[in-house]
Subunit: 208 residues, 2 copies
DNA sequence: ACTCCAATCTAACGTTGTTAGACTGGCCCT
DNA sequence: AGGGCCAGTCTAACAACGTTAGATTGGAGT
C-alpha cells in the first residue's frame, strides 16, 4: 500500500505533538508510516520542503474558523484569533511555521480573507496589504513568544522559581522591570492578545 | 592564547554574516577561532546555550540607540526602530533571536526601557507589561517575515518571476489577493513598519 | 623543581539528512 | 498468457553534525 503526500503530512503533524520539532526526524517519521527513511524522498525533495508543506497544512483550519458573515473588523478579529489558536494547537506550531515563507494554499487563503476585509473597509490597496502583513506579523510574533514562554516555564518550574531567576538575572538593575515583576509573572496571554488587537484596530481606523 | 566567552560570541556573530545560521556549526566556529570543536564545550555547555547567548549579544546595540531624553512615545518608537534595525543588521538575525527565550543582560535592558516609558505614560503595571510584550512581539514577528522575504527573493529572482509564481500558486482563486498583487510586490518594508507602529501607538493612547 | 588546574587536544560515538542503486509488484500492450 | 515498464520501496552507505571521554599541554603558585 503506497503512501501519499497527504498521509505523510497528516502523520507528520500528529507526530509533531508527540515528539516536538527537534524530535521530528526523517527516520522517526518514516517509522510512523511503516516505511524506510529514504522513501520519503520519493514524495518530497528535501526535509526543508516537507517542513514548508507542513507549515501550510498546519494553518489549514484557519480559513474555516473565521466568521465571514459580519463586518470587516469582526472578520479580521476572528481571523487573528483563529490563527493564534491554530498555531498554539500544535506543539512548536509557531516555530515550525515561522521558518517558512511558502505560497501555499492555506497561506494564500488567509491572506485573501484579511485583504478582502481590509479593502471592504475602504483602505487603499497598498495600505490594505501593509495592514494585512502587519496583522499577520503581530499574530505570528506574539504566538512565537507565547509558545516559547509556555514550553520553557510551564513545565516543572514553579512561578516562585521563575521569579527568583528573574531577580537573580536583574541583579539590582532595571528598576522599571523589577517594579513590574508581578505583572510579568501574572501575564494572561489571552487578555494580552486582546489588548494587542485592540491597540492595532484602534490605530487602524484612521483613513488610509 | 586562551579564548574567552566574549571572543567566541563576537566571532560567532561575525561568522553568522558569512555562513548563515545553517552554516554556523561548532566545527566552523572552532576553525575561525583556531581551535578544535570540543574546546567550545569548555566555555559553553551546549550549542543551544551558545545560541542563547548569541541572541542576547545580538541585540546589545539596541539600548544605546534609543533616544532617552524625549517623551515616552518617542522612546518607544525609537526602541522599536532600533530593535528592527539591529535584528536586520545580521544575516538570519531575527531567526536566531526568535528561537530563544533568555533572560539575558540586553533583553532585560530593552524590556526595562520600554516598560519605563510605558509607565511614564500613566499605564497600569499590567497594561504596561502587556503593551511592552505586544510591541516587542510585533517587531520580532515583522522582522522575521521581512528577513524571510528578503533572503528568499532578493537573490537572483526578478520581481517578474515572483509575480508569475504568485499567479501560478493562486490559480484563479483568491480575488482580493490577486487584485492587490501589485501592492504585495511593491511592498516597502520601511513604510510598512512605520504604518504598523502608527497603528499600534494610535490604539495605545486609550487609557489603561 | 613540583604541583596543579585551566584550557586545549585527539579520537570516537551515535544520529542526522541525503544519495546511489537494486528490487518489487502491478498495470498496459500485444 | 507473457513481457516490458515504471511508480514506489528497499538496503547500504556517505559526509557532516553535536557531543563525550580521556589524554596532553603550559603557565602560575609554592
Amino acid at each position: 500500500m503506497a503512501i501519499d503526500k497527504q498521509t505523510v503530512l497528516r502523520t507528520a503533524l500528529t507526530l509533531l505533538d508527540e515528539v516536538g520539532s527537534d524530535g521530528l526526524t526523517m527516520r522517526v517519521l518514516a517509522k510512523a508510516l511503516n516505511v524506510q527513511a529514504p522513501t520519503l524522498y520519493w514524495h518530497f525533495p528535501s526535509k526543508r520542503d516537507l517542513l514548508d508543506q507542513m507549515a501550510d497544512a498546519l494553518i489549514a483550519p484557519v480559513a474555516g474558523m473565521v466568521n465571514v458573515t459580519t463586518e470587516p473588523d469582526d472578520v479580521l478579529w476572528s481571523l487573528a484569533t483563529a490563527l493564534r489558536a491554530t498555531l498554539l494547537s500544535r506543539r512548536d506550531g509557531a516555530r515550525v511555521y515561522a521558518g517558512t515563507y511558502v505560497m501555499g494554499e492555506n497561506v494564500l487563503a488567509v491572506a485573501d480573507i484579511a485583504l478582502a476585509a481590509l479593502l471592504c473597509k475602504g483602505l487603499t490597496q497598498q495600505t490594505a496589504v501593509d495592514a494585512m502583513f502587519n496583522l499577520v506579523s503581530y499574530v505570528l510574533g506574539f504566538t512565537i513568544e507565547e509558545q516559547g514562554f509556555r514550553e520553557r516555564w510551564s513545565g516543572e518550574e514553579s512561578v516562585e522559581s521563575v521569579r527568583e531567576q528573574f531577580i537573580s538575572a536583574m541583579g539590582g538593575r532595571f528598576p522599571a522591570l523589577s517594579q513590574s515583576l508581578d505583572a510579568v509573572l501574572a501575564g494572561d496571554f489571552d487578555a494580552r492578545f486582546e489588548r494587542g488587537l485592540d491597540a492595532f484596530f484602534g490605530g487602524l481606523s484612521s483613513p488610509g
